[in-house]
């Protein structure tokens, strides 16, 4: 049964992936029809670049989310700006060099935050705040300076603030794909280590793993993912592109590998669709558009995803309260009837409703419709099958009591004491038999 339910979750994950891919493909004609998007060469390049970036940032973003370092991603992307400006001043407008500059600035910021945490009593949020604000301020000042230089080919450096897809050309996509492939390869190679350190760094350390080194490597990969996306999403909103796919993916699955794959698909969708929409008009900045798409996915996932989604959990709460209301009503009827004679004794309505008003009504209605109880004027009476069900329930509780008392002596299998379940459904028949044998030894 467990296996079946797990594979149901797996199926859901793959179904979701298929749905998103389909949606992405369908968007092409819909976009053409609705928004009049013409799939020129430029738009195709932009869409491809956006999707590839979405895959990379979505994948690495999962780890940022799980390490509770979402805001670290924000600090690091803001911190890239001075690097871009300095690289421009030194080497001119070459995307590769600009991104290397961005990466160096982010990486220094990363180490600086770590150093602040290690040497001062600052907490992480304060350390990140300091670095985010100061690095970004430095970057803005440098950009202003660059714009004051006459003749400089500075056109478009400020695109890095909000991101502009139209600026992406084919060679940029090649660069992004190459570096991105290397990043994903590194992630695959060190998957086990990244997972372990993210889940339980202390245990990893006690196990001989070089936790510091692994953490630095993972953070560096996250920095690279951030830097690659800057041109498209911009330093201010890059954090959204980093974490939104991971947050959305987390709603759908309980497995890290599925979460990462799903985040990659979500990222590709958001990056591609967002970039295409922003290509409709040069005035639509790409970063915000991608983020709007990405967070639509987050909202949809939070609402709809089974297990964690809002709809799902409110539905499950309803089912639970129905189930427990029924169980409690049955127990109350049975106990009252027993203490007033026999199980068939009618139970006054006032008594049963006095116990748990709404919940009692809910329970009684269910018992009535499944024929476990009948009305007798102002009273409730258990039917034959109702008495049987109540006896089964009481018997299960008694076996649970015996289990707690004697499981040790009898060497019974260790179980979580889920006393709301029938013990005969969770304990092997032989063990139940041993407990049954004990019930005979004690009166009622």
């Amino acid at each position: 049964m467990k296996l079946k339910s797990m594979s149901a979750e797996d199926k859901r994950v793959w179904l979701t992936i298929a749905a998103i891919v389909l949606l992405g493909i369908c968007f092409l004609p819909i976009g053409q029809w609705l928004f009049g998007i013409r799939y020129t060469y430029t738009v195709r390049v932009v869409a491809l670049g956006g999707s590839i970036l979405g895959v990379i940032s979505g994948t690495l973003g999962c780890f940022a989310v799980l390490r509770r370092e979402s805001l670290m991603g924000d600090a690091l992307s803001h911190a890239a700006l001075p690097g871009i400006a300095v690289a421009f001043l030194l080497a001119g407008r070459d995307l590769g060099l600009l991104l290397i500059g961005a990466g160096i600035a982010s990486w220094i910021a990363l180490r600086f935050i770590a150093a602040l945490l290690a040497t001062t009593r600052l907490k992480q949020d304060a350390a990140m705040g300091i670095v985010l604000a100061s690095w970004f301020a430095g970057g803005i000042a440098l950009l202003a300076y660059i714009q004051s230089i006459p003749d400089a080919s500075q056109a478009g450096l400020d695109q890095f603030i909000f991101g502009q897809a139209a600026a992406i050309i084919e060679s940029d996509v090649l660069l992004i794909s190459g570096v991105g492939a290397a990043v994903l390869l590194a992630l695959a190679l060190f998957w086990k280590e990244f997972k372990l350190v993210t889940f339980d760094g202390e245990f990893a350390g006690a196990n001989g793993f070089q936790v510091g080194l692994i953490n630095t490597l993972l953070s560096t990969l996250i920095v690279i993912a951030i830097v690659l996306g800057l041109q498209l999403a911009g330093v201010i909103l890059m954090v959204g592109m980093l974490i939104a796919p991971g947050i959305a993916a987390r709603q759908w699955t309980q497995k890290l590998n599925h979460m990462v794959i799903l985040a990659a698909v979500f990222g590709a969708f958001a990056g591609g669709v967002g970039a295409v929409i922003s290509a409709i008009d040069a005035d639509i900045p790409t970063g915000p558009m991608i983020i709007v798409v990405a967070f639509s996915l987050v909202l949809a996932s939070m609402a709809l995803a089974p297990g964690r989604g809002l709809l799902w959990s409110s539905w499950r709460r309803r089912l639970d309260s129905r189930r427990f209301a029924r169980q409690n009503a049955l127990r109350d009827l049975y106990r009252y009837a027993l203490s007033h004679g026999s199980p068939g004794t009618p139970v006054p309505d006032a008594f049963i409703r006095g116990i748990g008003d709404r919940s009692a009504a809910l329970g009684l209605a269910q018992l009535l419709s499944s024929g476990l109880v009948e009305t007798r004027g102002d009273s409730w009476q258990l039917t034959r099958s109702g008495i049987e069900a109540a006896r089964r329930d009481a018997h299960s509780l008694r076996l649970w009591d015996l289990y707690r008392l004697h499981a040790d002596d009898l060497g019974l299998p260790l179980l979580a004491e889920d006393r709301h379940l029938d013990i005969r459904d969770v304990l092997p028949a032989a063990a139940v038999g041993q407990l049954e044998a004990m019930t005979g030894q004690r009166p009622n």
Binding site: K2, L3, M6, L66, R68, L189, F190, W191, K192, E193, K195, L196, T198, F199, D200, E202, F203, A204, G205, A206, N207, G208, F209, R250, T253, Q254, K255, L256, H258, M259, R404, A407, D408, P413, L414, L415, A416, E417
Partner: protein, 254 residues
């Protein structure tokens, strides 16, 4: 006890300080092989700090530690660790089986992935702690006791010589407590050494044959029968503990 028995753990002059104040101070400890040792002391006595410092997880201000005569770097494969349950995020997207398999990552080394052999070892450990019916369960759905047993299984697959357990009995159900005690005895039978940070004075004599009383400094360390005395407990806890005739211990104000 027997001086010729090999020392599983030897600690000398170990000191850990936070902002110039010692959390543990000048710890000398000699733990013979094959004992079940409880580390007991009041809150803030440095029990967890002692374990973490021994395992090199936090920086030491002073002192040396050796496992079977070797420094930690050479003895890592001999050491198993059960951290405090609250030290990780139990909402992490992974299954019980997966967490237990993590105990084998250290032996696998870089780049190699766990396979069928690792899976079988993990399943065997899960059977020992009574979680075989929960192997595919997502860890966020576990009770506190089940979480603790998952951590215990992860340490068992490490197949270490000396185990360190940080408060395994804290806030667990009766079944889990029983499972842990069973495991402790099995480990002892197999000649393993186990150090357990413990907080329940009532069960010290039943569960452990070796005892270290700690309050920043070591108050006493040795066989439980010799160390677990009213005077020593008073030295450890101050005047707040009273010792009853039938061997029961009560905290004042309980």
């Amino acid at each position: 006890m027997n001086d010729r028995a090999p020392l599983a753990l030897s600690v000398e002059d170990l000191t850990v300080a936070y902002h110039s104040k010692p959390a543990i101070w000048d710890i000398d400890l000699a733990v013979p092989e094959g004992v079940l040792m409880a580390i007991v002391g009041p809150n803030g006595a440095g029990k967890s700090t002692l374990i973490k410092a021994v395992l090199n997880l936090i920086p030491r201000a002073a002192g040396t530690v050796s496992f079977y005569g070797s420094p930690y770097e050479q003895a890592r494969s001999l050491v198993g660790y059960v951290p405090q349950r609250g030290s990780v995020d139990w909402d992490f997207p992974t299954s019980v089986l997966d967490v237990v398999t993590m105990g084998l990552y250290g032996k696998l080394g870089w780049l190699r992935r766990p396979g069928r052999r690792e899976r079988d070892l993990a399943l065997f450990a899960l059977e020992q702690v009574g979680l075989l019916d929960l192997v595919d369960r997502q860890i966020s759905q576990l009770s506190g006791g089940q979480q603790q047993r998952t951590f215990l299984a992860r340490a068992l697959v490490q197949d270490a010589q000396i185990y360190f357990m940080d408060e395994p009995f804290a806030a667990v159900d009766a079944i889990t407590e029983r499972a842990i005690v069973n495991i402790l005895h099995q480990l002892k039978e197999r000649g393993k050494t186990v150090l357990v940070v413990h907080h329940d004075l009532q069960t010290v004599e039943d569960y452990f044959d070796w005892l270290t009383l700690l309050n920043v400094e070591i108050v006493a360390s040795g066989p439980t029968a010799e160390v677990f005395t009213p005077e020593n407990l008073k030295k450890t806890y101050g005047g707040t503990v009273s010792y009853l005739h039938d061997g029961q211990v009560l905290m004042a104000g309980d």
